[in-house]
C-alpha cells in the first residue's frame, strides 16, 4: 500500500459546535489529530461520531468554531477518502464505471489503470462490468473503499465501515485498514464497540453528547473507551 503522494494531513477541531434543532451533535469540541495518526472514535448512538466525521469531510458546516488541516497539501484542496454507512456509489453504473467516474472527477492520472488496480486490490476484478445493483452488501462496501482510495487521499474517514459485512469481508476490511495505517495515512474511524478494527488504532477517543469525554493512547485504558459504546 503506497503512502499518500501529497503526504498525510493532520486535523484540528477548535471549539466546534453543530446543532440539529435543539440537540447538540457537537458541543465545543476541541480535538487535534496529528498527521499519520489512526484514531478510533467510540460513543453511543447519537453521541456525534458521524457528525464529527462529516464535519471533517467538509460535508457539514459547523455553527461555531473552526476546523483546519495541516501538513501535506492542506493549504490546497485536501484529498479526503470518506466511507460511510451508505456506499456512496451508483447502482445504475458498473463497478468499473463507478470508479472511472470518481477517478476522473478527482483528476486521477490514468483513471483506467487506477480503477483496474483498485478493483484487483478489493477483490472485484471478476465483477468489473457488473452493474452495482447485482452486488451484495459486502461487495458494495469493498467498492466503496476502492472509491475512497482512488485519489490516494491524505486523510481517510471511516464511519462504522464494518456495518453489514459478513465475517470474511470484515476480516478483509480490517486487514486493509491496517495496511493503510502502516502506509502512514491519517485515519479517523468511528466504531460501535471493541473489535479487531479498534485494535488497529493508535489512539481512541470517546464522545458523549458531542464532546470528547475520554482520549487515550494504546495502553491500559484503551479498551475502556469502547466499554458500553454499543447501546
Amino acid at each position: 500500500m503506497p503512502a499518500p503522494p501529497e503526504g498525510p494531513i493532520g486535523l484540528q477541531f477548535d471549539q466546534v459546535e453543530k446543532r440539529y434543532g435543539a440537540v447538540y451533535a457537537l458541543h465545543n469540541l476541541t480535538l487535534s489529530v496529528p498527521a499519520g495518526e489512526c484514531v478510533a472514535i467510540a460513543g453511543r448512538n447519537g453521541s456525534g461520531k458521524t457528525t464529527l466525521l462529516r464535519v471533517a469531510a467538509r460535508l457539514v458546516r459547523p455553527r461555531k468554531g473552526t476546523i483546519s488541516y495541516s501538513g501535506g497539501a492542506a493549504d490546497r484542496f485536501p484529498r479526503i477518502g470518506y466511507v460511510a454507512h451508505a456506499t456512496m456509489v451508483y447502482d445504475e453504473l458498473t463497478a468499473e464505471e463507478n470508479l472511472l467516474f470518481f477517478a476522473k472527477l478527482q483528476g486521477v492520472e490514468n483513471p483506467a489503470k487506477r480503477a483496474a488496480e483498485l478493483l484487483g486490490e478489493v477483490g472485484l476484478e471478476d465483477r468489473t462490468n457488473s452493474l452495482l445493483r447485482t452486488f451484495s452488501r459486502g461487495m458494495r462496501q469493498r467498492l466503496a473503499i476502492a472509491r475512497a482510495l482512488l485519489a490516494q487521499p491524505s486523510l481517510l474517514l471511516f464511519d462504522e465501515p464494518g456495518t453489514g459485512l459478513d465475517a470474511e469481508s470484515g476480516a478483509w476490511l480490517t486487514a486493509h485498514i491496517g495496511k493503510l495505517r502502516d502506509s502512514g495515512s491519517t485515519i479517523l474511524m468511528s466504531l460501535h464497540g471493541e473489535s479487531e478494527m479498534a485494535r488497529l488504532a493508535t489512539r481512541a477517543i470517546r464522545l458523549e453528547a458531542g464532546s470528547v469525554i475520554a482520549d487515550t493512547r494504546r495502553g491500559a485504558m484503551f479498551q475502556s473507551i469502547f466499554a458500553g459504546a454499543a447501546s
Binding site: 467538509r58 460535508l59 470518506y82 456509489v89 445504475e92 478527482q106
Partner: protein
C-alpha cells in the same frame, strides 16, 4: 475554471449515461406531454387560427408540468446511496454539480420538446418549418431557465419533508415569467407573418443569466445538510 468545467463535463457524462440506460425521466416526460397535447387537441378541436393563438400557451404549460416531473428526481437519485456526499467530497467547486445537472435537465427537456414539436404541429395543424431556428432558440433559452430554477429548487426540496409537493409549489410561481415570455415569443413565431421577438429573447437570456449567477454564488449552501 478549467477544473470546474472538466468536473461538470464528467458529471454530465454520468447523468446522460444513467438516463439513457434507465430512460426513466425521458419516457415519463415524453408520455406526459404527449397525453396533454393529444387530449387538448381532441377536446377543443381548434382551428388553425385558434391553434396559433392558444397552442403555444398549452405547449409551454405542458413542458412546465413535465419539467416539474423531471426535476424532482435529479437530487433525490443522489440520496439513494448518499452519492451526493461522494460528489461533494470529490469536487473542488460544488457549482460543478449544479452546472452538470442544469445541462442534463436542459438537454432532456429539449429532447422532449423536439420530439413533441412535430406531434403538436400535426395535431394542431400549424407549421414551424420556416421558423425553426427561432423556435429552437426559444426552446433552448426557455428550457435552460426552467432547468436553472428547477435544479436549485430540487436541491432545496430534496432535503425537505413533503418534497413531492414542495417542488411544484415553489417552481410554478417562480417560472411564471418564463412561461409568459416563452408563450409570447412562440405565438409571434407562429403567426402567418412570423417575427422574432428579440425583446422576449433578451428577457429569457437575462433571466437565465441572473439565476445562474445567483446559483453560482449561493449554490454551495443549498447542498449543505
Amino acid at each position: 475554471m478549467a477544473a470546474l468545467l472538466s468536473n461538470a463535463a464528467v458529471l454530465l457524462g454520468k447523468e446522460v449515461r444513467t438516463e439513457f440506460r434507465s430512460r426513466e425521466l425521458l419516457s415519463t416526460t415524453v408520455v406526459f406531454v404527449l397525453i396533454v397535447v393529444v387530449v387538448f387537441s381532441f377536446t377543443f378541436d381548434p382551428t388553425t387560427n385558434e391553434s396559433r393563438r392558444f397552442g403555444p400557451g398549452l405547449l409551454w404549460m405542458a413542458f412546465l408540468f413535465a419539467a416539474s416531473l423531471m426535476l424532482q428526481p435529479c437530487f433525490l437519485r443522489e440520496q439513494v446511496n448518499d452519492t451526493l456526499s461522494a460528489l461533494r467530497v470529490a469536487v473542488q467547486d460544488p457549482f460543478a454539480i449544479f452546472l452538470a445537472k442544469i445541462a442534463a435537465n436542459t438537454l432532456f427537456l429539449l429532447v422532449t420538446e423536439l420530439l413533441m414539436l412535430p406531434v403538436f404541429a400535426a395535431l394542431f395543424n400549424v407549421s414551424f418549418r420556416a421558423q425553426l431556428p427561432g423556435i429552437l432558440l426559444t426552446f433552448f433559452l426557455g428550457s435552460m431557465g426552467i432547468s436553472v430554477v428547477g435544479t436549485a429548487l430540487a436541491a432545496i426540496s430534496a432535503q425537505a419533508r413533503m418534497r413531492e409537493l414542495l417542488l411544484p409549489l415553489l417552481l410554478l410561481p417562480l417560472l411564471t415569467p418564463i412561461l409568459v415570455v416563452c408563450t409570447e415569443v412562440t405565438i409571434r413565431l407562429m403567426q402567418p407573418d412570423p417575427a422574432m421577438e428579440w425583446k422576449g429573447i433578451g428577457l429569457l437570456a437575462g433571466f437565465d443569466l441572473v439565476f445562474l449567477t445567483v446559483l453560482w454564488l449561493f449554490g454551495e449552501y443549498l447542498l449543505e445538510e
